[in-house]
Subunit: 354 residues, 3 copies
């Protein structure tokens, strides 16, 4: 593709030779000849001197830029577009339904579905058009998978769960395992039947080896557009709102509701039966033990507003020094007391001497 | 089922029309007509006003209750019973041994075992009666699985491991992966053979994608009735006692012994080579770095008795203020010292003036 | 094997009957007759009195040792050798290529490769000599797996990823899932194509259900000899250096570089875009939020040098007491101030009286 063609696709302004051949997108530091890279901030323009890229996407420019460039409103967003333009076609090797796929006679599999060897599709399962099922995918009874989904290797979806359209389930993720519900009874635990389901709405992505437990009754829900990273735990009856992102290894305990547009860092734990308000943001490794108001920014274990945590954290680092200062104060106060006593004693003597 | 029949099954006292049809259990807030719900505490009886449930399980009652109800000794326990009564029959779609199951000639598979397509049963494996093996289950050489077990999709059990009766392994759980044992040698790591096994006793449940490492020598053990949630790590030579529960994403390092009737919250880490006493309880996100005496309640990282942690935690929140108070004290003390010095100086002058 | 033969294999000094039969290695407390055990420190020699082992490996000895022993330079290292000597042959039940293995016509599978039933080998995949593929292993398009590797059940390796020689992938581990990259756009998230790969160098071991995300562009790398435990998250574009060990449930966020010979405890989180220097050591449950210099030893969340953390931690435990001491100081200071004021007042009166 020429630089001119690319500029046209991006709706950007061409500053460089029209016929320059662009062969791939690349990071600024590892780009080779033919690559296009991006720079969001002219502060870092010295990086351009060392790069071997043939062109760059910029959203600001000045005369010192020697490299051919395309001027766009947002260099990073344009680069994401470029990635998409150059992304090789995926899933090409999964063609049609393999003869080694198991499909129950009662399943409804759209004719455009592609299913690899060793895929299991159980009774009454429904799979929508263009959906791709990689090897080792297991869909148990009555599961509904929408259109244009991709289920990567060894994903399993348990009975009755419902998956929307354009959902991506990364390798080994589990949808609909039993919720962790046991009633203590005479020193033992009795399993509480987990009769609900998991519902995943449209445009959700679930990370590798992430687990989503089915509800005891009703539904565990991941709402539209939400993205969960790897190794996340979503317990029974949790609701995760729309367009929320959670980083790896975080967990949400039972019946908690996380709002829309929430951002959760890695290794965060959120206790059960609380609400995390829309637009809130939780820093990595936090432990959320109470309701979180809308648009809060939280950190710590137990978590608190991040500015408070940072202040506390700074004080904590001064603790050994604070302890010393308290000791010093105690010592000085004692000296002062003794001096005062003494001087009073002298005063007293003087008084009696008078 | 009629309300009368249900009352009889529960051994409860009927307060309502005998022939009222009950079609399902439901949570109080999402119940529909025909549903039965429960209420453990009359404090919340205002919830009954808004519910669409047709009946309710109560363990206390008063005249204000308009809804038909069954009076039982323990409403929550009775509701668990109701869930079991209404639980649909599970595993109905896994019938007999699929022709796509691989079974080694030397394996002993009871005639009542049901195994789905793409199940692998290796040499000398033994599978007890009524056990159900979902698609993608892998049982390597010499594995023993007891009676009435359920192994969900993509569970794998490594060579020689032993699984008791009525054990449930949720999707993707791993039994018997190599323990993490490496001997440092000249700046490299040499793998220490992991020759032991994992033994899972009767009535254990293991969560989705949870991993249990085999022992270096001897056995990693999960004792009777214990329930482990999702994404838990059990290292080599760990022993988890009877009727213990562990919430998701917790981990136990090598050779540690956790006692009976212990309760471990989510994302807890327990170091290696220690003992956690019977009946102790560890709050979520704790880091246990030392032996825990019986019946302790612990929290924090490093963990301490929970009352101590809470006291400390409250003080921590006051830290910035404490720092200010120390500053104030230092200032006032200085003023005081100066005043005292001054007044002494005046005294001194007066003295010389005398 | 006789004690004499074993002493010869270990290059150790025989102190006991030449023809004593040794049948297995065992831990000192669970050894049976015929077993050989080890003792690294004579301080613990009282354990030898209770053991049923027939012989012991020692690196120091004195006259009080009654048990037959082999004297070696390092008893622990020699015991690892003994484990290897007695380790039963592994993987014997996976023979040749199963007829239930799926191999794409374009794949290059060395004739010595052994592949179990329900293994999927995609287009252009290359598998080196002596490599063993357990049931449920999935290798997607263009994957390269080197020689002498072991891929345990339900491991999946995504398109284009590269795996070196003598690599062990424990059950359920995922190589090459999409990195967690989404560009926020008008309140939604747009998926950023993850076009890079994962490269695993020689002699690496990856734990059960651990996930390694492919790079956005370029490579996520795990370098030679590094060992990752179970349930670890390695994000896109991370580089983990040589001969580094990471304990279970730790995670590294995107683009971070961890050096060589680093040791990371369990449940550690390392933020993105930083460097962890060679030879550094990070204690369990730490949160690393900044670059870590070479050979640092870190603990805490946020992490700091471990000696500082321990000091701080001790102070923290004294916090409630510190608060009390501050209150006491304030009280005493006030008393002092009042006394001073009073005494001055008296002075003043006296003065006016003069």
């Amino acid at each position: 593709m020429t630089l001119k063609e690319l500029a046209a696709l991006l709706g950007g302004e061409l500053h460089g030779p029209e016929d320059l051949q662009i062969t791939e997108p690349a990071k600024i530091e590892s780009a080779k000849e033919g690559a296009i890279t991006f720079l969001s901030n002219l502060k870092y323009k010295h990086f351009l001197e060392g790069t071997k890229a043939s062109a760059v996407l910029l959203d600001q420019a000045n005369e010192s830029i020697k490299l051919p460039y395309i001027l766009v409103p947002n260099a990073y967003a344009a680069f994401v577009q470029v990635l998409k333009i150059f992304e090789p076609e995926l899933h090409t090797s999964i063609r049609g339904i393999s003869e080694f796929t198991f499909i129950d006679q009662t399943a409804h599999v759209h004719e455009t579905v592609r299913a690899a060897p060793f895929v299991y599709i159980g009774p009454n399962v429904s799979v929508g058009k263009n959906t791709i099922l990689y090897p080792g995918v297991v869909l148990l009874d009555n599961v509904i998978v929408g259109d244009d989904c991709v289920l990567y290797p060894n994903v399993s979806v348990r009975e009755n769960c419902i998956i929307g359209n354009r959902v991506i389930l990364q390798n080994g993720s589990v949808v609909g395992s039993d919720g962790f519900g046991f009633a203590p009874y005479e020193g033992k635990y009795i399993k509480i039947p987990q009769m609900g389901i998991v519902r995943i709405e449209d445009d959700v992505e679930i990370g590798a080896n992430t687990t989503l437990d089915r509800a005891t009754l009703g539904e565990t829900i991941v709402r539209q557009g939400t993205k969960l990273d790897n190794l996340i735990q979503i317990a029974h009856n949790v609701v995760v709102g729309k367009h929320t992102v959670m980083a790896a290894q975080s967990g949400i305990a039972g019946s908690t509701e996380v709002g829309d547009n929430v951002s959760v860092g890695g290794q965060v734990a959120i206790v059960g039966h609380i609400k995390v308000g829309d637009g809130s943001s939780i820093a990595g490794k936090s432990g959320i033990t109470n309701n979180v108001p809308e648009k809060s920014v939280m950190w710590g274990m137990p978590a608190m507003p991040i500015t408070k945590f940072k202040r506390m954290e700074i004080s904590m680092r001064r603790l050994p020094q604070m302890l010393q200062r308290i000791k010093d104060l105690e010592k000085e106060l004692n000296i002062l007391k003794n001096e005062l006593e003494e001087s009073r004693g002298i005063d007293g003597q003087e008084t009696t001497n008078d």
